[in-house]
């Protein structure tokens, strides 16, 4: 009976996959690696690694303290590496319902403090609609965020994808 050995990636240890083409082009698969993307990113730069029409998956290098963000709809963050605390504020003036994607919420969003959540690898947190949130990385890591393309989304496909 062999012992289980599950391989997760990290900023320090990842091995990117490959594409063996028969026909077509590698770029059609929009292939990237979130740890590679985060390793070259600025802290909390929201780099799009997946795009399905208006919906996106953004990758962030979690390092230090992020700005306060807010969103009119639910978002979900998955901690893929490191340790991150998320602080929440119930905003007095949340983004308008028609606004898609995350926005900056200012240095001190007005509203009541809701509490905080401590994440490690594999933990997923709900970033509820209308709440401001701020990440603090106690151990530098990587966050992947399911959201909608917005003002803060950064697309640089040529730099991150196999082609």
């Amino acid at each position: 009976m062999s012992q289980a050995h599950t391989v997760f990636g990290s900023l320090k240890d990842y091995t990117k996959g490959t594409i063996e083409l028969v026909s077509g082009e590698a770029r059609h698969y929009v292939f990237s690696n979130i740890f590679e993307v985060a390793s070259k990113a600025q802290p909390y730069e929201r780099i799009v690694v997946g795009k399905n029409l208006e919906y996106v998956q953004e990758v962030m290098r979690a390092e230090g303290v992020s700005p306060w963000f807010a969103c009119a709809h639910d978002e979900f963050a998955l901690c893929m590496d490191g340790e991150v605390t998320v602080d929440f504020i119930r905003m007095k003036h949340p983004p308008g319902a028609a606004k898609n994607g995350a926005v900056l919420a200012g240095d001190a969003p007005e509203g009541a403090r809701m509490g905080h959540v401590k994440l490690k690898r594999g933990h997923q947190v709900l970033l509820g609609a209308g709440n401001a949130y701020r990440f603090t990385a106690t151990v530098t890591g990587v966050l992947m965020q399911q959201t909608v393309l917005g003002d803060l989304s950064v697309q640089k496909w040529r730099e991150i994808c196999l082609s």
Binding site: G17, E20, L21, H28, A112, L119, R121, G128
Partner: protein, 327 residues
């Protein structure tokens, strides 16, 4: 219930299995194989699959409610979902058989084909065989009819509306055991510290713990709903029992370990690529391909779907390109 529409024979005196008719298709199984017959070019054509492969594919088609687009059981037979109506075909999406004109396709009411597939599973899945399980975790599908495994084939999952574990939403898996292949996965949960008055309003859970406790393979569960964007992670071991043909763009994010994907042309099956995905890799499955995955070590895969209404028509008409990003 449309069970009365299911057309089947009495059990075979030789092996104990019933045979089924779906329109002009005839489906039969014996100790080792499932055989499908259909009419084409004035003759009765046939195709065989190993019984275990057929049952694993049929199980996914039922569990996924015919899924998004094409569910190819193998290189010859499969279904195409028109969301209410469903095609069953033989050779239609095999370049050689299609060109030879020996293919056949018939469209059915979704309830009718679903009832027929469920009846097939109830009759053809023997005691001890679980079509959702990895091969090393289940008994054999082969041999003459011996009992059944209704509990395995009629697993039900509560649909997730927003995120598992929220009040009134789908449950977490704390009462399920950790799979042997994920025995080393941390079972720690996030710490939630709510201020007075906000108890129950912050929510987080360990997705990796949740996945480590999945008792099925190649069967996504929704874990996050952002409008029409669904996170559908799943655990994978051995072979995806179907060659899934996309009617929209689908994305994969490899959370752990490795999966190799064979990618082929959606209409002909002609090979296009082999895509090896390792932990942290992200890749799109374009809207004009079919794909089948191989995972030696049980792995965690984040499948990401867009369920915006009308997408199949927009891709098929050419309004949307098959590739999600131009660069």
């Amino acid at each position: 219930m449309p069970d009365t529409q299911v057309v089947s024979t009495q059990p075979s005196n030789r092996n104990g299995y019933r045979s089924f008719r779906l329109g002009k298709f005839e489906l039969a199984r014996d100790e080792y194989f499932v055989t499908v017959h259909w009419p084409a070019k004035g003759a009765r054509r046939s195709h065989q699959m190993p019984a275990d492969a057929f049952l694993r594919a049929c199980m996914r088609d039922v569990a996924w409610n015919f899924f998004y687009g094409w569910v190819n059981f193998d290189h010859v037979i499969g279904t195409r979902n028109h969301y209410g109506r469903v095609d069953f075909y033989a050779g239609t999406f095999n370049g050689t058989l299609k060109e030879a004109g020996v293919d056949y396709l018939e469209q059915f009411d979704g309830d009718h084909i679903m009832a027929t597939f469920k009846a097939i599973l109830r009759d053809w899945v023997n005691e001890g065989f679980d079509p959702f399980a990895a091969p090393v975790e289940t008994g054999t599908a082969f041999g003459p009819k011996q009992g059944d495994n209704i509990a395995a084939i009629e697993r039900t999952r509560i649909a997730t509306r927003r995120m598992p574990g929220l009040p009134g939403d789908s449950p977490l898996r704390n009462d399920m055991s950790v799979n042997r292949a994920f025995a080393d996965v941390s079972q720690d949960e996030p710490e939630i510290h709510a201020e007075p008055g906000f108890e129950g309003e912050l929510h987080a859970f360990s997705l990796f713990k949740y996945l480590s406790r999945s008792d099925v393979t190649w069967n996504p569960s929704v874990t996050a709903v952002c409008k029409a964007s669904l996170a559908c992670p799943t655990t994978e071991e051995f072979i995806l029992p179907v060659f899934h043909g996309n009617d929209r763009v689908e994305w994969f994010i490899q959370l752990s370990d490795e999966i190799v994907w064979d990618v082929g042309d959606k209409n002909t099956g002609a090979p296009r690529a082999r895509v090896t995905m390792r932990a942290g890799d992200v890749a799109a499955m374009p809207a004009d391909i079919r794909h089948q995955g191989y995972s030696t070590k049980r792995s965690m895969l984040y499948v990401w779907e867009n369920v915006t209404p009308g997408l199949p028509q927009r891709y098929e008409s050419g309004e949307l390109p098959p590739y999600p990003v131009e660069f």
